[in-house]
Structure formats: C-alpha cells, structure tokens
Symmetry: C4
Amino acid sequence: MAHETAHGGKKPEKKTGRLEAFSDGVFAIAITLLALDLKVPHVTPLAPGLASALVAQWPSYFAFITSFFTVLIMWVHHHLIFRLVHRTDVRLLFANGFLLMLVTVVPFSTAVVAEYLRTPAAPSAVTLYAGVFVLISIAFYLVLMAAFRPSILDPHASEGAVARLRRDYRWGPPLYLAAAIAAPFSPWLAMGICAALWIFWALTTREC
Amino acid sequence: MAHETAHGGKKPEKKTGRLEAFSDGVFAIAITLLALDLKVPHVTPLAPGLASALVAQWPSYFAFITSFFTVLIMWVHHHLIFRLVHRTDVRLLFANGFLLMLVTVVPFSTAVVAEYLRTPAAPSAVTLYAGVFVLISIAFYLVLMAAFRPSILDPHASEGAVARLRRDYRWGPPLYLAAAIAAPFSPWLAMGICAALWIFWALTTREC
Amino acid sequence: MAHETAHGGKKPEKKTGRLEAFSDGVFAIAITLLALDLKVPHVTPLAPGLASALVAQWPSYFAFITSFFTVLIMWVHHHLIFRLVHRTDVRLLFANGFLLMLVTVVPFSTAVVAEYLRTPAAPSAVTLYAGVFVLISIAFYLVLMAAFRPSILDPHASEGAVARLRRDYRWGPPLYLAAAIAAPFSPWLAMGICAALWIFWALTTREC
Amino acid sequence: MAHETAHGGKKPEKKTGRLEAFSDGVFAIAITLLALDLKVPHVTPLAPGLASALVAQWPSYFAFITSFFTVLIMWVHHHLIFRLVHRTDVRLLFANGFLLMLVTVVPFSTAVVAEYLRTPAAPSAVTLYAGVFVLISIAFYLVLMAAFRPSILDPHASEGAVARLRRDYRWGPPLYLAAAIAAPFSPWLAMGICAALWIFWALTTREC
C-alpha cells in the first residue's frame, strides 16, 4: 500500500513498467494457451460417441482448471512483489526471466498430465507436473531475493508487507515438493495437493 | 461516465489497471486463437477440390464468426463493468478469473461445433457450445455481483448505469439456457439463437 | 499531428485507449501466429534431405513475408486513423471488430497459399488469399467512414490529414480486387501484385 | 539514463509508445510460443516409457532454454535502443518490422533443431538456427542505424550510451556468423556458441 499512499510525494520514479507489462503479457498468453490442450475428440460411431468422448476427457478439464487458477494466483503474487519494487537490475531481470520461462512450460506439463493421468504412466506425468511447480516456487523465491535488496526495493515499501511476503514464500517449495514426492506412489493424491494448494493460496491472499 | 467527468477531482485513485490490462490480453488472445480452428483442407484431386473443400468448411466459418463477435461483445461489456469499479479484492479477482477461464474455452467449443455441426453428433456439439455460453453469462453475473459492492464500486459511478447493467445482465443466463435446451432437439435452431444473441447484444449496447 | 500539438490544451480527453490497446493486441498476436505456418519438414533420408526440404518450402517463406509486412502496414494505418479519433461508438466498434476478425484470418489464408502455391490448386488458394485482402480493404473503408463523422473525429484533427486518408483508402479495394481477379488465370501474377502492394503502401506512408 | 533525468524538462514528447508496446507484444508472444515446441511424447509400453521418453527429449529442452534467454536478451536490448529514441519514421518502422519478423521465426528454427539435433541432419538444422540469429543481429544493426539519426534520436540521449551501443552491436553479426560457419562441421560446437553467447550478452548487459 506504501506505493499508492506515497504517490505524488518525492518517491523516486518507478522504472519497472515495461518489465511488468512484458511479464503480464507472458502470463496472459501462457494462461490462454492452456486451453489449447483441450482437444476436439475424434469419434466414429458419431451420435452417442461425442457426448461420452467429451465426458471421458475430464482429466483434461481437471488439469486445465488446476493449472489455470495456479497460474492466475502466480500472476497476482508477481504483482504483489513488483508493487514493492522501484527499479530493476540484471539479477532481477534474469530471476524474473527464469520464472517466466517456467510459466510458459505449464501448458506442456498440463498436456502431459491430461494425456496420461488415467494410464499406467500417471506417476511419471504427475511427477513432471508437480516438479514444474517446485521449480516455479523456487524461481519465485529467487525473484523475491533479487527484488528485496536495498537498491531495488521501493524505499517507501512497508516493512510489514516485505516481511510477510518473505515469510509466506518459504512455504511454496516444500509444499509442491511434497506433491512431487507423493506422485510416484499416488498420482491422484499429488494432483489433489496441487489443486488444494491454489485454493489455499487464494484464501490466504489478503490483497490484490 | 462518472469516471471521466470526475477525473482530476478528489476521486480515489483507480487501482484496477493491471487487472483490466491482463483481462484485455486474455480476451485479445482468445479471440485471435479462434482463427486457429480454420484448418487448411487436405484435398487430393487438387484442381477443383480445393475450392469446393473451402466452401464445404462453411460451418467452421459460421461458428468462427458467431464466436468472434460474441467474445467481442463480452469484451465491451467487461469494460462497461470495470469502468464503474475503482479497486479490486480477492472475490472480484476470482469471479473475473472464472470468467476469463471460460473465455479461453470458447475456441475449444467452437472447434467442436465446426467439426461436428453437419454430422449426427451435432446435438452434443451444440449443447457444449451453448453450455459454455450459459456458464459465461453466469460468470458475468458473478463478476457483476462482486463488482457492485460498496467497497469496490467507484463512489462516483452513476446509479443509473449500475442499475441498468444489473438489470440487463439478468437476461444472459436464461437466453443462453434456452439455446442449450434447444440444442439436443434442433442444433441449427440453437446455433441460430447464439448468432441472434450477439446481434441483439450489439444493438442494445448503448455505449462503449 | 493535431493530436500532439493540441496536447495539454482544452481538447476533450481521448477515450479510445482501451480499444486501441485491444486492437494492437489482436494485430500483434495475428502477426506472430503467421510464423506457426512455417512447418518443420519431416524427411527420412536425413542427411541431405533436410536442407533441400527447407529450401523447397520457399512458397511458405514468400507467403509469410508478404503477409507479415502487409499486416504490419495495416497496423500502421490503423494507428493513423485512430490518432484522429477522440471517442468510439457502437458503429465504430463493430466496423473495427469486422476488420480485426479479418486480420485474424490472414494466418489461415496464408497457410492455404503456402500449402497449395506450387500445386494445380494454386488458383483457388491465391483467390482466397487476395479475397481476404479485398475484404480487409473494404473493412478499412468502413472503419474510416465510421471514424470520420463529426461526433467521433477529434475536433482538432487536421482537415488535410483526414482528406488525405479518405483519398488514399479508396485505392485499397480496387487494387486487391485486381489481384483477386488475376488469381484464377495467373496465381503468380496475383501473388506478385499482393507483394508489390505492401511495398507500395510502405513507400507512400508519409508518417507513423 | 538521460531519458529519466530529463523527464519533466522541456524534452519533446516521446511518440514511440505504441510502436514499443506492439514490439513488446510480439516479443512476449514469440517467447511464449517457444514452449509449443515441447511436444507430449506418445509412448506405448506406458509405465516406464513416459519417463524415459521425457528424458530423451532433452535436445528440445536445451534448444528451448537457449532460444528463450536469447529472445529475452534481445527484448532487453530492444528496450535499451528505444529508450534513446523520441520519435519514429518509416525507415525505423521497417527496420523494426524486419527485426520482429525474424523474432517470430525463432520458434520455427528452434523446432527444427529440437527435431533434428540428434540425427544426421543436425548440420542443416543448426545452420538454419544460427543463420536466423545472424539475420537477427544484422536486423538489430539496421534498427540501430535507423534509430541513431539526429531526427530520431532523443536530443537528451547521452552520447556515451549511444556510442557504447553502437560499438557493442558490431559484435553480434560476426559471433553468430562463427556459429553458423561451425554448424556444418560440428553442430554441437555451434549450439554451444549460441548458448554461450546469451550468457555473454547477459553478463555484459550493464543496465536494464
């Protein structure tokens, strides 16, 4: 909130606009490309076949919805971090680039789960899916560490907001790691953890 | 209009910019991806085959045009709602996220109709197509209810504009539901209702 | 130019920002999707096969380059029109929507030409390609007519700029129509006209 | 830096906003489309097959990461150039358009490398890949020459920044040309040069 209240004061000009707009673009494109994983089913006994083929694709819908809201939550949190930042440097740029690269991979790992969730290959598919989120939560932590240095942080950022984000973000890597470790034994449990986590992040997001 | 006229006065700063830009991005990408459903026909007796194969794809073109203008109208209405809003909260964020998720699904349901409109599976395909629009019109109503709360609404928003949107948006779910109910009996009637509705929304849009 | 010089005066606030940003988004996505038509060739006698297969795809590259610069020019001209406009209404919104819909179709018509330019089906393919540009140039004229009405036009727009655009845009439909008429007889002549036209538009664009 | 410090002075208004936003959009879409090259493997002995099929796709991941960070660096450098510019003209517009066209081609050349890096066709594939970067580095030089003319350059741009960019950009074409020349003899060496170069650009980027 420090950002808005200080607006118009002698706060140094915010220079992160173009990086935020570029990041928003990548988030928006990646979240929309998720829907490309919904494939038109190809059925031959047409009349009853299409309806049941569409229903049989429910693992695709489940993976799509989980990924969509997880990426949406990530976008909100990306915004929460950059609101506290007033300039960028090369380290923040590359931490952010690493994060964006992993975000663009989510449609791929989602497609792998959608294809293999109901097959004997589900453990591998869900390990990949949860593994990508482990890497993303580590990337978020790297962005956080690059952003919350004195030269980068907005001097008017509230210490409370910084401390809270720093504390909250410690939970991401171990929780997704738990899902990744569970995946080889119970893919469904692992997918359930991933689905529960975005709901948990959503409920604990106090501002946006 | 309250927004523009009050500009420069003591109106609280509008904080929805990044959410609107993100939503606009998703709308723009989803509307452009609709054209990916137009497939290059693969014909073997080449010379006369291509022209007639292109003509034979007219259900694709019809579904593409209907979806394009329906999403365009939705984008206009999204803008009409957010013009009256001066901040966001978690509830509005997720109502809007639910709406955006369904918008990204439109290219999928359009592709299903394009593939099956002239086959015995048309009833299932068109039920899906109209069903997605039923969900979208419900999502719009959820966004409206999240947006038009005292803490979210721009205090300078005209009461007339709020009341009119609130009234108009009641029509969306029942009208698309009528199309979804008609689809199993007459897919063509249902597609006709969907096409008629965007023309109706367009003619009744008084401002943009 | 009126727009910039009058900035800061008592000119009414420009309200077309979100429509321009949305249009820019659609142009940017459509122009980038053109590259999806470049397909990885699948060759079996690998060693010498890939290089010659890549070279053999030159009709794809030619169609890609022609479409890319044609859409780029269209984007510049879209900007030239909207610079003279200070508000939108439903008619302008739908004229612009019709234009954007056709722009999203360009990757499809380009893919058809890329697939069939060196086959006996080239006349049909190029007729479609030029036909889409005929429709786009008509859509541009509709946008121009919707934009240059007293209620929509920026009152500070220079009369010279308005008159010049009005005059220049008359040339689009007949010139692309000539390409479409030539296509059934000589697809290569028609493609040459399309390629020559974007170079011509580029050379005659005096400002951007 | 001249741009920010001079802000608020009598510097002529910056008129490149829409061109920069359009370019950013194309960069963001092209960088996100890179992930479409990651294909879901189709395996039949499912249980152990998927994990090893995913691992066997590592050339895809290597090409994806190299292309992602190379395009990210290009986007940073595009920003560095346009920060020093205060207006556009037709020559800059088309130099920039030529650059953007080549950027949209990167997902295609990346897909070719991902498909053929471990086959006898690797020399052709990597020559294409490095060749696209040779063209991009030439396009960057054309943009630089179009941008750093007196009528286009921001009169407050620091001479040091202009001279440094002018000097640094001379290195791009010969270094990527070295990779392209090495490709027919040793595709792996050439890919290594491309991967080393983005790390080199990253380390030598002093500001962003």
